[in-house]
Symmetry: C2
Subunit: 336 residues, 2 copies
């Protein structure tokens, strides 16, 4: 990690102090060199494959400076990248954080941000080993996560076959409900609200992803970041198949009467809401009995079937069929 | 690499097509999975250490949209990250590119940008395996480079001892001269100008770094990205020593009379000019006879000595001593 001047050196020190083990540490014997050199240096686990992914987390696009608490920004930028590692069935190990920040945020905001990032780092077992810093009017974040997976165990998007069952973990659309609560909030943020918590502090499904990979139960897998209606077509396209989703089976969020009056519709949320970071995976019908209804507190719900014909259908409760069209979060469609 | 909608899918396709081997390729047998899944997947070279680094490349901070040709932006964002791998003595292997772009630049600008990035990728032997894309008013780029190095061979910043000789590769300040030429240019860019070429298309000193690492000749090493007066203090601080630089020995750029009249001063350029991506390294005096004056076309120049006392001195030509103060490129000091 390198920075350009006194302020950046101060920034780097603040980040390094928050980072945990920078040099060789008994907890991370494979890490030779952390923050402070031209690059990080580590010894990958012998025989394992390395997983590599990165994600933007940009003010105005992925979070709102006046709405999202800084520690949520710190948590979520890492959770987003780690979720990609979970979706391969891997274990996160290291991350790099590139941070561009206005000078006015290098005090309290940065401390809280780093607190959130540190909590996430400990929770996910993923150590900060480097990055890059610079000054900028907007807060710009890019996180690179490195994980590992036993050879041959990684689950891709491309392995689904016609006839496979489609599963999702958890409930879909809860994070979107949390976002709507956050947008309505004025200053006071009731993190007692479970939906808001799921939006602010998502938990990548690491244990589930690793278990599915190890047991060879998932034929294809990805994480749900942009919403089912946007992400399922990607899995279908990668696998060269289509899919049918049954509306009645979707694990929709519980919506109060007040929310319904606001026009909040559970099915719409479950289909199009983003930022859930749940897992979407497919399994052969013959393996479905090996999948529990609840895995370590997380529900697993079969929501449909992969089909030969490469199109995506939604079977509605009234028996009607309609095409499922991407309606998830879409930065290019709406101005932010 | 994932994107959010139709435009982004188009972007991804354009980037993927430009990226070279995305799936398992005979040229890259260790790459299991490239662009298009949740993450990239590769098998690290058995027994080797992995080098990991990332760098911002931001419009207005690191390049100017109206001055820098798009293919230079594509080349340089990768060169910057690969230079950190060179500075560890490693070989680059893979890179991730995160790209945020205004919609109006997804045509010709993006094609030229990807052309520059592809040329750099081939030149450096570093394959694009993933990233993230989104829309944004400014062009934002973050590149993560992954390299490898034989165990124990990586050269850190922290190994210099008092008495070690200080070396630099190439000439210092040439890229800064190129930047000044670019700033003066109005539309027409004479890339026949070698300084301008060095600014626009820097070549990380990969062969030199690898040779020094393999032969165990460098006690400490880093790349010169922000200028000698900013970077040497970092190497000194990491090693816990000071340094004396002899002005008369610095490989300064050749400056025309016209440039001198403009106030361009060779010594100032060599001390404070950024973006050279040359190597700064230290070596024991007993090893200095093993260092050629020219290594594969690149001059190696001893410019001073590491000292016990942790301060940085410049010995001027008139025999005077003064403290060397960082005066390199500094995004926090000057507004952009």
């Amino acid at each position: 990690m390198r920075g350009q001047n006194h302020n950046e050196r101060f920034l780097l020190k603040k980040i390094s102090r928050s980072a945990g083990p920078g040099k060789r540490s008994p907890r991370f014997p494979s890490l030779s060199l952390g923050i402070g050199d031209d690059a990080a240096l580590f010894r990958p686990k012998a025989g394992y494959e390395t997983i590599l992914t990165c994600d933007w987390f940009l003010e105005g696009t992925h979070f709102l400076r006046d709405k999202h608490p800084p520690d949520s920004v710190g948590w979520k930028c890492l959770a987003r990248a780690v979720s990609d590692v979970a979706a391969m069935g891997g274990s996160p190990r290291y991350f790099l954080m590139s941070l561009a920040l206005p000078d006015v945020l290098t005090g309290r905001w940065l401390s809280l941000f780093l607190g959130g990032s540190r909590r996430a780092s400990r929770k996910f077992g993923c150590v900060l080993v480097g990055g890059d810093t610079t000054q900028r009017d907007d807060v710009l974040i890019n996180v690179t996560a490195v994980g590992e997976v036993a050879p041959g165990q990684a689950v891709r998007r491309s392995g689904a076959k016609s006839g496979d069952l489609i599963y999702v973990s958890g409930r879909l659309g809860e994070a979107e409900m949390g976002l709507q609560a956050l947008r309505r909030s004025e200053g006071s943020r009731r993190t007692a609200n479970a939906y808001l918590r799921k939006h602010l502090y998502p938990k990548p499904r690491l244990e589930l992803g690793q278990w599915l990979a190890k047991k060879g139960l998932a034929t294809a897998m990805m994480d749900l970041s942009d919403g089912l209606s946007s992400d399922l077509p990607r899995l279908c396209a990668a696998s060269g198949v289509g899919g049918e989703v049954e509306a009645a089976k979707l694990p929709v969020p519980q919506v109060s009467n007040a929310d319904r009056k606001r026009g909040i519709e559970p099915l719409h949320l479950a289909l199009h809401g983003g930022d859930d970071y749940e897992l979407l995976f497919t399994a052969m019908p013959s393996k479905s009995r090996l999948l529990p209804r609840i895995f370590r507190g997380v529900t697993l719900t079969p929501i449909g079937t992969m089909t030969e014909k490469p199109e995506l259908l939604l079977l509605e409760k009234n028996g009607r069929q309609c095409r499922l069209v991407p309606g998830g979060w879409d930065p290019f469609r709406t101005a932010h």
